[in-house]
Symmetry: C2
Subunit: 713 residues, 2 copies
């Protein structure tokens, strides 16, 4: 694989180091950080008291070689992980075999396992390399499926100006074809320049700065969510057009489809990649068949267009209307960026194979799009409620039923596949953002099945909400569509212009011109879509992009602050060297039961200064408790706080904070007696006092919280 050129040597090291490995969650340290660590360590070495080393451990070194008894895994709600094999000294390998689950609470892990399959080993992250003939259908489903709704949304804007205006679709389609070719060629340049991963987020971040990168990412995120919602809606529409009696359950059907996509992707459907080839080819074949039949029919009547059904004009034909139709038609281009995101999955030479595939894809798109728009004009098809124009065209064109059914079925299938593409790309985008600390760290995590479960869940929930809010009406969702895609296109191509002017590789002038043309055309569509459809819903996307960028910047700010606060530095306070920590142990005792006695015994066994605190609601209870305490033997100093307002948590916290203010040099260890109740459904019977105390005490400076659980049934 050819490495990306980095002529000025200024590239941030992360981009090249990004891999989808499970260890991505655990960051590497720089040399400087390692040095600081060493400095910190040397301060330990100067300790006046020797830190116990491993030799003194009662840790059986044979543990690694032993296979513990199968009654392991008693801790609840977890799949019991098998056992340990020793490999090197001081190293164990959890083999990941699952032990037979002992009874009840395993239900959860069992359901999980049946639905999602067993956990996969980290080493199972494989790169499936694709031939061009496989890559084409897998990566093009999103793009090609767009012709199932792109022409329709264009026509449904035009028809507002009466059926006469429908003929405007031909010139608009001409302009769109120019746009498609320009963007396609433009992306060919990007692939050449960024053969590892040419996603808009990376390209825009690197060349225009992080804010623009985030804007592109936000646009793409909106786009992926919309892709799922729109594709599912269009797929469901294709079904209800063919089988109108299913129309009343359209929304549950769509939600079910999203749920299936969710489950399938959580399970990890990577291996099924090449199965995806079939529906895409089937769809291409179906459309070409439609075009062929239509051409023959039109030729028979001398290419005279049939008149479309009369529709009254509600708007005049104006610049705004044409621009809106143009922006709507541009939604046929969603998905063109798929190849550039996925260059590394091709067989070597990757970038060359990817470019060839992209060329094929765009050619197919141009043929299918222009063919469909022309045929719709010739056959006099106009948008109607309850029926997609593609379905209408099929009904008008095909002489026999089975061909129409085939068309509708393959349309529905490729639309669902297109939704699936978003399930691949959205989590990957969030992974890159999380890697740059612009998204929550949890998006770095590979789930049990080595997929980014959190990203997949986020996408599903977002798409399902959108689908429900818009009642599954495709046309209502399309206005929101073009803005996000073309924002990403524009920023990515602009980034490439910047790239060429900086890098100046071979043919850089030609590449720069091509990318500049792509950027300008994309920007025109972007502005057209954003302005022309602002009130029709595009404002949601504009606001959404702004919001995502602001949130991402806030997240980055927070992570940076936390990083600054947690990165090791040579001397950071009073608790950095074990020999300097002074202890004081506090045991809050509510009643003298076994759980408190265990906590007291544990606290006393630490051998540090110790006292107990009791919070009493009134003097009478105070007396009673004192009597219990002295019956026990008064082994530990007892402080009683009488709190007439019965505020246990606040009183204790205030007390400990006062203690800390008086003696900030002391580390307070609060030893909390706690009941560990094995059955979850009886836990509410015991209140939440330990949890509330823990939450409150965690906020106090200089306090360490120790829970001593007593196990009860």
């Amino acid at each position: 694989m050819r490495e990306r050129e980095a002529p000025d040597g200024k590239e941030p090291p992360e981009y090249t180091a990004v891999t989808f490995k499970p260890s991505a969650e655990l960051p590497q340290l720089t040399e400087h950080e390692l040095e600081v660590l060493g400095e910190v360590g040397r301060q330990w070495a100067r300790a006046h008291r020797r830190v116990p080393r491993s030799d003194g451990l009662p840790l059986d070194p044979g543990l690694g070689r032993q296979r513990p008894a199968p009654q392991l895994g008693r801790f609840s709600r977890l799949a019991p992980i098998g056992m340990f094999r020793s490999q090197a000294p001081e190293e164990l390998v959890a083999t990941g075999e699952q032990l037979p689950a002992p009874g009840r609470l395993r239900a959860q892990s069992r359901i999980r396992r049946v639905l999602l399959g067993p956990r996969l080993r980290g080493s199972a992250v494989v790169r499936e390399r694709m031939r061009k003939l496989v890559g084409l259908p897998v990566l093009s489903s999103d793009l090609l499926s767009s012709v199932a709704y792109g022409p329709e949304t264009m026509l449904s804007v035009l028809v507002l100006a009466g059926s006469g205006a429908l003929r405007l679709s031909l010139p608009i389609a001409g302009v769109l074809v120019v746009l498609m070719i320009t963007v396609g060629v433009s992306y060919r340049q990007t692939i050449r320049a960024y053969p590892r991963s040419a996603g808009s987020y990376l390209v825009a971040s690197e060349n225009l700065g992080d804010r623009f990168g985030l804007a592109a990412a936000a646009g793409l995120m909106m786009d992926y969510i919309l892709t799922v919602a729109v594709s599912v809606a269009a797929g469901v529409n294709a079904i209800t057009s063919a089988l109108p009696w299913l129309a009343p359950v359209a929304i549950p059907m769509g939600i079910a489809v999203i749920a299936v996509l969710l489950a399938g992707n959580l399970r990890g459907v990577r291996a099924a990649g090449r199965l995806f080839a079939a529906p895409t080819y089937a769809f291409i074949f179906g459309i070409l068949l439609l075009l062929g039949f239509g051409a023959v029919q039109a030729a028979r009547r001398g290419f005279a267009p049939l008149p479309p059904p009369n529709a009254a004009a509600t708007q005049a034909v104006g610049v705004m209307l044409v621009l809106r139709a143009f922006a709507s038609g541009a939604s046929s281009m969603t998905g063109v960026e798929a190849v550039s995101d996925a260059v590394p999955v091709f067989r070597p030479p990757e970038w060359r194979n990817a470019r060839t595939t992209l060329t094929w894809m765009v050619s197919l798109l141009v043929v299918m799009f222009t063919g469909l728009v022309m045929l719709m004009y010739l056959q006099g098809v106009a948008p109607r409620p309850n029926q997609t124009v593609l379905s209408e065209l099929g009904r008008k064109t095909f002489p026999v039923g089975p061909l129409y059914d085939y068309l509708q079925a393959s349309t529905a299938l490729i639309l669902l596949l297109a939704a699936n593409t978003a399930f691949q790309d959205f989590p990957r985008l969030l992974f890159f953002m999380a890697h740059d600390r612009y998204a929550p760290r949890s998006f770095l995590r590979l789930g049990d099945r080595l997929v980014f479960s959190n990203g997949i869940l986020t996408l599903s929930v977002g798409a399902a909400l959108l689908f429900i809010v818009f009642h599954g009406r495709t046309r209502a969702l399309i206005p929101l569509y073009a803005v996000g895609v073309f924002l990403a296109f524009t920023l990515s191509q602009t980034g490439m212009v910047r790239h060429w002017s900086r890098v100046r590789g071979p043919h850089w002038r030609r590449s720069l011109v091509i990318n500049a043309a792509g950027a300008v055309l994309s920007a025109i569509v972007l502005v057209t879509a954003a302005v022309g459809k602002f009130t029709a819903g595009a404002w949601v996307v504009v606001a959404g992009v702004l919001l995502v960028v602001l949130i991402a910047l806030g997240i980055r700010r927070h992570y940076d602050a936390v990083w600054a606060a947690t990165t090791p530095r040579a001397a950071w306070g009073s608790t950095d060297r074990p020999q300097e920590i002074r202890h004081l142990t506090v045991v809050p005792v509510a009643r003298l039961d076994l759980s408190s006695l265990c906590a007291l015994a544990y606290a006393a066994s630490l051998g540090q200064p110790l006292f107990a605190v009791h919070i009493s609601p009134d003097d009478e209870e105070d007396e009673r408790f004192r009597r219990q305490w002295s019956s026990w033997g008064d082994h530990v100093r007892l402080e009683i706080i009488v709190s007439p307002s019965r505020a246990v948590v606040a009183s204790l916290a205030s007390y400990l904070e006062a203690l800390h203010l008086l003696r900030p040099d002391i580390t307070l260890t609060v030893v909390l007696p706690e009941l560990a109740i094995s059955r979850w459904w009886v836990r509410p019977l015991h209140g939440h006092m330990p949890a509330r105390l823990r939450r409150a005490l965690r906020g106090l400076p200089g306090v360490v919280i120790t829970s001593v659980p007593l196990h009860v049934p």
Copy 2:
């Protein structure tokens, strides 16, 4: 106050000791338990290592006398509790003054304070003693308000057999009057025998056993929830009868009323008790006025009944119909038990004043009930939709509008008051049950405002759900009503029969006969209601009572098991004496950041054997981490678990469990590095790993969990 007789000395001590004090949550210990404690303590005294006493503490003894600086209370989400005044040595009093809140997160406590008022001191639990003239209206609102819907439900059963059947209301009312007098006299006996608290739960538990007591309590719980739902529904009906344009918002209105009752009761409206006198007297006056006007009108036409509006019969007059009408009319008696629950609130001699008040109440009930039924018959009133019969009667009888308005307003008011009675009784009943460990312990807790907030919340939620499910239709709720009340009546009176035959005080034979008569009559109503209305909804109550009893028994079983597991015993295991605890400290380290270094330093400073564990997803990361570790200086033995399936929690838990199985004598202290993040809204950015680890480890035997928080912004 006269103590309850306890001639056989076999009474459980709790009943007499039950008080609504804040210390009820903290149980007393018996002498035996104190002795066991002493035995446990003596084992400590034999310690080979001296437990540090207070003298060695770095605890400033002046803390108590100091007023800490006002920057106290930094811990979030808590009302900052003021400060400490020293009283005795080793005793502090949290005065409960609230410090001025420093900024933002105090919003929650402020809203709370505005809605509910400031926290009250525990000593503010006062017993308001009532004169009879005050006690009568306060305690009778529930009972007397029942006549607002009791006659109506009876008529609405009878009218099913046509308007001719309405005249059957007169003989049925006669039987009901006999029932009322019998139950009233029967309760007089109960009050004499149980002057402290004569609630059905206590009486039935003590005389018939806990199961019957629980059945009575379950019946009453259902009844209280129904009282709130029915009273609110009837109150809203009274309003919409007068102002029909409010009918569409009847349900939101009812929910709002329940919310107001909830807020008012959480705030604690005890002091307003005597304000309650007014509406009750106003209602009594209104009904008597109605009866007077009606009597005059009827007398003018020689007491000839007006014919009711014609209604077609949908059922034949049969035994079943009459029985169902009887059971429906019996719902007029709900609330008669209120006095017996509240004997101690009367001025001394409490039981005598309570009895007198009960007599007045029942007399008023009989007069108002019979008067209304007769007047309804004379005025030819029949149930109609959208109008209560009381409202109809008012419209027919009163010559002028204001009198009708007065009647409706006072009806609505007393019905809301009746709902309020349930808000007093329901939490108290749950308190008694919780005190006997038949209900969750949280019902023992007095809230900030010295009311049983949890009981009040439970009642409100239950009533609101019921109100919504039944769409606020009073008549739909009434069939569920009688079963619960008369179950409690029957069990309580049966218990009294048992009581007299055991105790044999003065006049015991007469008392026994009276109670037996009450029990038999109540049982007849119970069976009538349960059988006659089983399919109409009474099955819900029957099932509910069974369910509550089963749950209560389960709760008791659990508490008993926990009590057995936590009560101190002379020697309970390896962790009972501090000198016998052997330590091993484990620090799970994900990355070598400041938070891990703090945890390592803390763990090392404990001076116990120590090792660190790192869980690595693959060998590569393993190597990387080892390098970091040796850069730091390799001060602590490091175990690396390679977990290719990336199961961090399960791997660590399995490892620790294996360790425990090998060396069960060692107490494992797991020192968890944790970030304490002050702003809650950024917490999701950091995952839940520490919380998940804590949950999993808490289930392991022999493991103590220590959180070392590092504070970050």
